[in-house]
C-alpha cells in the first residue's frame, strides 16, 4: 500500500509543510475546527439523502480536514490523461451511434455494443449538437504507487461530487486561511463558469439568441439535490423539475411568472429512463412528456445525450486502451486496472477460482452497490456470488483487489492513514476541453476499508494541486 506522505520513511516534499502544520495543532484546536466545519456544512445545507426502505433522511457528508496534495507534475499527467480519455469517449459515442467504424474494424465486439442494454436504439443516426454526447465526465482514479495513477472507471452520465470539490475548499479557506497564504494552491472556484461556457457552446440547431440554459433535477429528495441547486446558483441558471417544463409543438418551454419561456440547453441530472415518459419509462413522473421529440427536432439540447451511459459501462471500460488508440492514435496516458471479463471463458474460469483475491462488479452497477470484495467476504457470500456469476457471466467483471493509496485523516488523537481515490471533472465543449486544477478526493473513513462511496461510509477531503 502506498502512503502518499512518505517515501522511504521520509516525508515527501509536497506534504512536508502540511504534516508539520497538522502536527503542531493542539488537540483542542482540531476538535474545535472539526465541529466548526460540521456546523458550516449544516448551515449551508450541504447534505445528501440516503435511500433505504425506511426514510430518505438527510445526512452530512463526513469531511476530513487533512488535505490531499498533488504536485504540479503529478497533476499534469492526470490532467492530460483525463482529457485524452474524455475525447476518446465522445468520439466513441459518436461512432457507435452513427457509422460504427470501431465495430467494423473489430476492435470492440458488435454484441458488446448492440446487445448492451445501455445502448440506446432511439439515438441511432441522430446528429447530436456539436457531436458532444457527454460534456461532463468524472473519471475515478486511484494511485498505485509513486508513479502510477490508474483509471478505475469513467462516469459519462451525470457524475456528481463537484460541489464538494468547491465547498471543501471554501471551508478549508475559512478555517485555515494561514495555509493558503503561505502555500501556493491552485484555485478551483472557476469550475461553474467553465461549466456554463461549456454548456453554452453546445447549442441545438434551433436556438434562441440568448441561450436559455437550465439544470433539470429529479427534486429535493435526490441524493445530489444540494449539488444541483449549488451549480444552478453558481451559474445563475434556473434549477427546474420536470413539472416546470412542457413541450408544445416540439418546442420545450419552462413555466415562469411571465408566462412561458423557450429552453435551449438542458443540463439534466436525471437518468435516461426518466427523461420523457412518452419515449422512455412510462411511469416516470419526473420527466417531461415530448422532450425527446423536441430534442430530436433540434429545438433543445439534452446534456449528456441519452444513451451516453454505454461509454461508462464496465464492459466497455475494459476496451478503453483500444478505444483511445483507435480514435486518437495515441497510447493511453493513464492505464486501466487489469480487468477480467467474465463474458470470456478463460477469464470466467480464472475469476471463479480466485474470487477470494478479486473485486467483482456488476457491469451496469454504480455507487458501490452489488459488488463483492473477495478478501472481506464470508465463504457464504463468495459461494452465493459464484452462482450469480455463473448464471449470468456477461453481467460481471473482476479486478484484482487494488490497494488504494492512503492519506492521513485527523483521527481521535493522531493522524492515521486511510484509503483515498480521486475524481477530476472534465468539461468537453464544442471547441475546448477543460479541467480545473483540482478534483474530489473521497476517503474511506473506516480503517482498512476500500469503499469510498458516500452512500457507504465514505467521506471527502479538500484536494490541492500545487502551483509549482
Amino acid at each position: 500500500m502506498f502512503n502518499e506522505v512518505y517515501e522511504k520513511r521520509r516525508i515527501r516534499s509536497v506534504y512536508s509543510p502540511v504534516i508539520n502544520w497538522a502536527k503542531s495543532l493542539p488537540e483542542s484546536t482540531i476538535l474545535k475546527r472539526k465541529s466548526e466545519a460540521e456546523n458550516l456544512f449544516k448551515k449551508i445545507g450541504i447534505t445528501f439523502s440516503v435511500y433505504n426502505n425506511y426514510d430518505t433522511s438527510e445526512r452530512l457528508i463526513p469531511f476530513d480536514m487533512f488535505p490531499r496534495i498533488l504536485s504540479k507534475t503529478e497533476w499534469k499527467k492526470i490532467q492530460s490523461g483525463v482529457v485524452q480519455r474524455s475525447m476518446a469517449l465522445n468520439a466513441f459515442l459518436n461512432d457507435i451511434y452513427n457509422d460504427g467504424e470501431i465495430i467494423k474494424a473489430k476492435v470492440v465486439p458488435a454484441d458488446l455494443i448492440y446487445k448492451n442494454p445501455a445502448y440506446e436504439i432511439k439515438m441511432v443516426g441522430f446528429k447530436v449538437p456539436k457531436k458532444i454526447y457527454s460534456p461532463i465526465i468524472g473519471t475515478d482514479i486511484i494511485r498505485e504507487d509513486k508513479r502510477n495513477f490508474k483509471v478505475l472507471e469513467d462516469n459519462c452520465r451525470t457524475p456528481s461530487g463537484v460541489s464538494y470539490m468547491i465547498e471543501n475548499r471554501e471551508i478549508m479557506m475559512r478555517m485555515f486561511p494561514e495555509l493558503f497564504q503561505s502555500l501556493k494552491i491552485e484555485p478551483v472556484e472557476n469550475y461553474p463558469e467553465i461549466l456554463l461556457n461549456t454548456l453554452k457552446s453546445l447549442t441545438p440547431k434551433n436556438c434562441s439568441k440568448n441561450r436559455n440554459i437550465v439544470i433539470l433535477t429529479p427534486g429535493p429528495l435526490n441524493s445530489a439535490y444540494y449539488e444541483h441547486s449549488f451549480l444552478a446558483d453558481m451559474m445563475g441558471v434556473e434549477l427546474v423539475q420536470g413539472s416546470d417544463l412542457y413541450v408544445d409543438q416540439g418546442i420545450t418551454y419552462m413555466k415562469t411568472t411571465r408566462g412561458r419561456e423557450k429552453v435551449d440547453i438542458i443540463y439534466r441530472r436525471i437518468d435516461d429512463n426518466f427523461i420523457d415518459p412518452i419515449t422512455f419509462d412510462r411511469n416516470s413522473c419526473i420527466g417531461v412528456p415530448g422532450l425527446f421529440d423536441s430534442y430530436k427536432s433540434g429545438n433543445v439540447n439534452i446534456c449528456s445525450a441519452p444513451g451516453s451511459g454505454i461509454a461508462d459501462d464496465k464492459a466497455i471500460y475494459t476496451y478503453m486502451p483500444e478505444i483511445i488508440k483507435f480514435y486518437l492514435g495515441e497510447e493511453p496516458i493513464l492505464e486501466n486496472i487489469k480487468t477480467w471479463r467474465c463474458s470470456e471463458k478463460k477469464d470466467l474460469e480464472y475469476v471463479v477460482k480466485n474470487l477470494k483475491n478479486l473485486v467483482v462488479k456488476e457491469v451496469h452497477g454504480s455507487g458501490g452497490y452489488g459488488m463483492l470484495i473477495g478478501s472481506h467476504a464470508t465463504n457464504k457470500q463468495i459461494s452465493h456470488f459464484k452462482t450469480k456469476i455463473k448464471n449470468n457471466p456477461s453481467n460481471y467483471i473482476a479486478q484484482p483487489i487494488i490497494s488504494l493509496s492512503s492519506v492521513p485523516i485527523f483521527n481521535k488523537k493522531s493522524l492515521s492513514p486511510r484509503h483515498v481515490d480521486l475524481r477530476p471533472f472534465c468539461l468537453v465543449g464544442s471547441n475546448s476541453v477543460n479541467l480545473v486544477n483540482g478534483a474530489l478526493t473521497r476517503v474511506a473513513l473506516k480503517e482498512g476499508s476500500l469503499v469510498v462511496n458516500s452512500s457507504q461510509g465514505g467521506g471527502v477531503k479538500d484536494t490541492w494541486v500545487m502551483t509549482e
Binding site: K43, P220, D244, T256, T257, R258, G259, R260
Partner: protein, 318 residues
Amino acid sequence: MLSRTAENLYWTSRYIERADSIARLLEVAYRINLIPNTSRTQNEWTSILETSGIKDEYILHYKENFKKDKIENFLIFDEKNGSSIFECIRKARSNIKMVRTAVTLEVWNAVNSTFHDIEKFSEKKYSSRDLPGIIDFVKSRVNLIRGTIQNTQLIDDTFDFLSIGTYVERADFTARIIDVKYFILLPSSNYVGSQIDNFQWTLMLRSVSAYRGFKQTYGNNGVNHMNIIEFLILDMTCPRSLMFSLDKINSHLTNLKKIYKKNSKAEEEISLIVKKFKKLSAKKILNIGLHEFLLEFIRKLYSVNSNLQNNYFFGKEK
C-alpha cells in the same frame, strides 16, 4: 422566474407567518392558564383551535378531548396537525429548499438554522414550563427571517412573492381571530364595559400582538369595541390590521404588474377591496354586521389568492 419558484416563495412566507401566529395564540393561552378560572380556560383552549382553523382536525384525531396538554402538543409538535409550529417550520424550510437559488444565503441560513435549532425542543422532554421558551424562540427567529429578507434580498419579484405570502396569511389570520370572538365586539354584548369584557378585549389584542400599540393609540380609557374594530380592521398604523395587510398585498401586486408589464386579475380585485376599505368606518362595519363583514372579507381574499395562482403560478400563458 419559474412559476414553481414563485409558489415556493409564497408558501415559505405563509408558513413562517403561520408559525408566528400560532406562537402568539399559545402565548395568550399560557397567560390565561395563569389566571384561575377553569371553565373559561377550557373555552379558551378550544377557541384557539377554532382560530387556527384546526378544530375539526383535532376532533378527528383526539375526539372531543380538549385537554390543555393535548392541545398544546397538537399546536407545537404534532405531525398530524399540518399547522403545528414544527410542521410550519418544516414546510417553510422544505419550500425554501426547493428554491435555494432564489434567496440569499443569509435568508436560507436563517430558515435552515431555525429548522435545525427547533429540534432542541423535543416533544419527549417537553413540559409546559418550556412553552415561553419555545414562543420566544419562534418569535425571534421569525423576526430574524423577516429581517434578513428585508436586508439582503433584492427588492424584485422574489421579494414581492415573499411579501404577498406573509400578508395574505396575516390578513386571513387576523380576520379569523376577530371572527371567532366577534360576539365580544358587538354592542349588544351583555357584558359591555364590564370586567370580563375588558379581559376578553385585552386577550384579542394580545393575540395579535397589538395590545401595546392599541394603548399607545387610544390611551387607557379608549378600550371599547368600536376602537378595537377600528384598530384591528382599519388602522393603517397597526401592522396586524386587515387594512395594513391589504395595502401591502396591493402594492406588491402592483409591483408585479409593473415588472411583468402585464395586468393581473388579482391586482384588479385587491385594489377594489382597498378602495372600499378606505371608505369604511367601525360604525359602517357594525351596520353590515361584523360576522357577515368578516366572512365576506375572507371570501374576497380567497378569490384574490386564487387569481394570484392563476396569474403567476401556472405559467403557461404565451
